[in-house]
Amino acid sequence: MAYCSCGGLGFGGWLYLRIWITFIGTCSTSVLPAASLRSPDLSTGLGTKQHPQRQQQRFSSLDDKPQFPGASAEFIDKLEFIQPNVISGIPIYRVMDRQGQIINPSEDPNLPQEKVLKFYKSMTLLNTMDRILYESQRQGRISFYMTNYGEEGTHVGSAAALDNTDLVFGQYREAGVLMYRDYPLELFMAQCYGNVSDLGKGRQMPVHYGCKERHFVTISSPLATQIPQAVGAAYAAKRANANRVVICYFGEGAASEGDAHAGFNFAATLECPIIFFCRNNGYAISTPTSEQYRGDGIAARGPGYGIMSIRVDGNDVFAVYNATKEARRRAVAENQPFLIEAMTYRIGHHSTSDDSSAYRSVDEVNYWDKQDHPISRLRHYLQSRGWWDDEQEKDWRKQSRKKVMEAFEQAERKPKPNFSLLFSDVYQEMPAQLRKQQESLARHLQTYGEHYPLDHFEK
């Protein structure tokens, strides 16, 4: 380097220039295209002369491809923004029309009569239970309830497509999955009443069901928290070579939560056998989808994460069944996540604490109840096959109502669990401090017991 002998710059000046030169040298190396870096004899830095012809070959813009680690894509020299397509979004897969007629016979799953009857009976029994328990809240018998009106098809169609041992993580509007897995009415009621038979030991609000035997993880109120958890469970199932899939249900509102984003991304990067099942029912309490998202629903997000995605008619139980069945097969075989967005409509209020006439018209609700209901569509299918008729309908309604009422009356008569169950299961073992608190409550009740509803609790 010729410059270092410039005496006039002095010691500091020389060092200053030296650093500047090194900086440029570094820069020079980094601006060279990859092709030229592969040539071992290329020297870099200022002042070096390259053969003009060799230089031109290396810098040819026709040859080079992007080398960025972050994306596998071609260059483009035209400035163009991608327009999100929300006018004609991802199409909605369906098997039956609104009158329950098969549209494309090759898509008919051709399920045996027994199975389809089980679909129908699960959905209608759920519907009957919903009516009675909703009423019971209105009468002050239980504190709270959430109905599943209009979404029965999403529950039953998907549950039927799974193995009984596939783990289910739900949000709170998936009782039909448990119903399909033959969770007894007694236990539904027990949880709603929080009585001694409640597997959850009376700790949670109604509809927070759980069942270890039926592989249904206990519901929790915070939305979307189950999504990354379901992914972790799927990862563990993959490691265990269990040939199990995990299914994770959530609504289109919950899909806005950070946990949903986290779950999708983890599932894809960690290659988990999981089905993300989104019930897009049009409302998150009072918030319509137009205020929940601007993109093409939830299905359109899947590809953004690298996830196989589909949108289905959630009120068509066979469409739901077919999509879930295929997703299950491939998720387990290929260890990758699948996203199913089931379009449906929430016919009922969000919960007993909600009156939806405050934010939507009765006409809108009636349309779905009368014109596009999963139960009536399936009934039409059954009737057209000769597997069901009005007589059976009448009998079944009476029978199912009777079953529900019996379970309901029994549940109401049972006491709540002993108050000491307030304290257990915080940890696997009870810590000393908590035991002291339990003892202090027991002592308190000995003196002040009359002011507490002890009569309703098991002794």
Binding site: G210, I227, P228, A233, A262, V426
Partner: protein, 412 residues
């Protein structure tokens, strides 16, 4: 020659400016030359930044667990993780950057040894890391999640508090995530500032259903971490990052357990009880020596180890003036010892004073031992500010502050 003289004069002037004026020196010299100050000028600056506020005191070599090896704290953590993955085929370790060994080298070598399905990176998302870990644990497999710094644990707060902690309770013991352990580097490190120095244990202390553990040394870290991993409840294990390399001692190679929810009296004394956890244990140990030397005061030093559920009995151990009081205690409350013995309690932690865990200890001890206290309980903690950068030496509850508080307690 003239140039050399000019430079020499400049250097002499610079040295004369003294250590405090080094900022002025750099400005006067012009930036490029400021970069090129002779090494000695920078060293003064580096020295006062480098001196630690504590001296790590290794414990004597443990003899009851077999062969030991010299390990620092991060190596002790690696050893615990190695033992866990060897013993438990379901165990997996995951988090940001754990695959190559981790930003603090706690997971070095584990991916090569146990495979990429067992030691793997996750996307950059703490709520995802913890949620994912809960899901693994729900199936019964062992999940060891790493959060890169305790300062970044907050996105996962909902998953920890609303989900992990409540899983068993809310399901009536149908489901639980007891096999989840979350590890995170914790506490001041000299230059960590706002987002690399936090001690968030108090946020989690308010959450029944989880356990929170902080070790003071490599030997303690390995035993406590193994206990957390094997514990049937979700645990958060905070690792004092300043001790990762600074703390070195003999640590058993084989696995061993140190019980949770048991504080350790690491030095017995009769006049004042000092309680701390993590790095601060070494600060109060030194304070105990200072107190003995300068004031003739005998201190009992307790390492709390588990923040929740915490060992109330050991700390309450001395709230009686006379040791005769101990004879009057019934068998069930025999445990209430330390404060009953000394009558004076000082609790110290880096985390801010208000709502810090010292408040919980203080409140409980005054409830249990009121009549046996000789002085108000003293809390020597960080100030109620975010953790500062250049002001760290003023912020932390160093030995002088602890000593001063102790002196006031003695003279109360």
């Amino acid at each position: 020659m003239a140039v050399a003289a000019a430079i020499a004069c400049r250097l002499l002037r610079l040295r004369a400016a003294g250590a405090g004026g080094h900022w002025r020196r750099l400005r006067g010299a012009g930036l490029p030359r400021g970069f090129l100050q002779p090494a000695s000028a920078g060293e003064d600056a580096a020295q006062w930044r480098r001196v630690a506020h504590f001296t790590f005191q290794p414990d004597p070599e443990p003899l009851e667990y077999g062969q030991t090896q010299k390990m620092n704290l991060f190596q002790a953590v690696t050893s615990a993780l190695d033992n866990s993955l060897a013993k438990d085929p379901t165990a997996v370790i995951f988090g940001e950057d754990v695959a190559f060994g981790g930003v603090f080298r706690c997971t070095v070598g584990l991916r090569d040894k146990y495979g990429k399905d067992r030691v793997f990176n996750t996307p950059l998302c703490e709520q995802g890391i913890v949620g994912f870990g809960i899901g693994i644990a729900v199936t019964g497999a062992t999940a060891i999640a790493e959060i890169q710094f305790a300062d970044y644990i907050f996105p996962a707060f909902d998953q920890i508090v609303n989900e992990a902690a409540k899983y068993r309770y809310r399901s009536g013991d149908l489901f639980n995530c007891g096999s989840l352990t979350i590890r995170a580097p914790w506490g001041c490190v000299g230059h960590g500032a706002v987002y690399h120095s936090q001690s968030p244990e108090a946020f989690f202390a308010h959450c029944p259903g989880i356990k929170v553990v902080v070790p003071r040394s490599p030997f303690q870290a390995k035993g406590l971490l193994l206990s957390c991993i094997e514990d049937k409840n979700p645990c958060i294990f905070f690792e004092p990052k300043i001790l990762y390399r600074a703390a070195v001692e003999q640590v058993p190679v084989e696995p061993y357990n140190i019980p949770l929810s048991q504080a350790e009296v690491i030095q017995e004394g009769s006049d004042v009880t000092l309680v701390a956890w993590g790095t601060q244990v070494h600060v109060i140990r030194e304070v105990a020596s200072m107190a003995q030397e300068k004031l003739g005061v005998s201190c009992e030093v307790i390492d709390l180890r588990t923040i929740i559920p915490w060992d109330v009995d050991t700390v309450c151990k001395s709230a009686g003036l006379e040791t005769e009081n101990l004879k009057m205690l019934t068998l069930s409350s025999w445990e209430r010892q330390s404060v009953i013995k000394t009558g004076r309690l000082l609790v110290s932690h880096e985390a801010p004073l208000t709502g810090g865990f010292a408040s919980e200890i203080s409140s409980t001890v005054q409830e249990e031992c009121f009549l046996n206290l000789e002085a108000p309980i003293s809390r020597v903690c960080g100030y109620d500010t975010p953790f500062p950068h250049v002001f760290e030496p003023f912020y932390i509850p160093d030995k002088w502050k602890c000593y001063d508080a102790l002196r006031k307690m003695i003279n109360y």
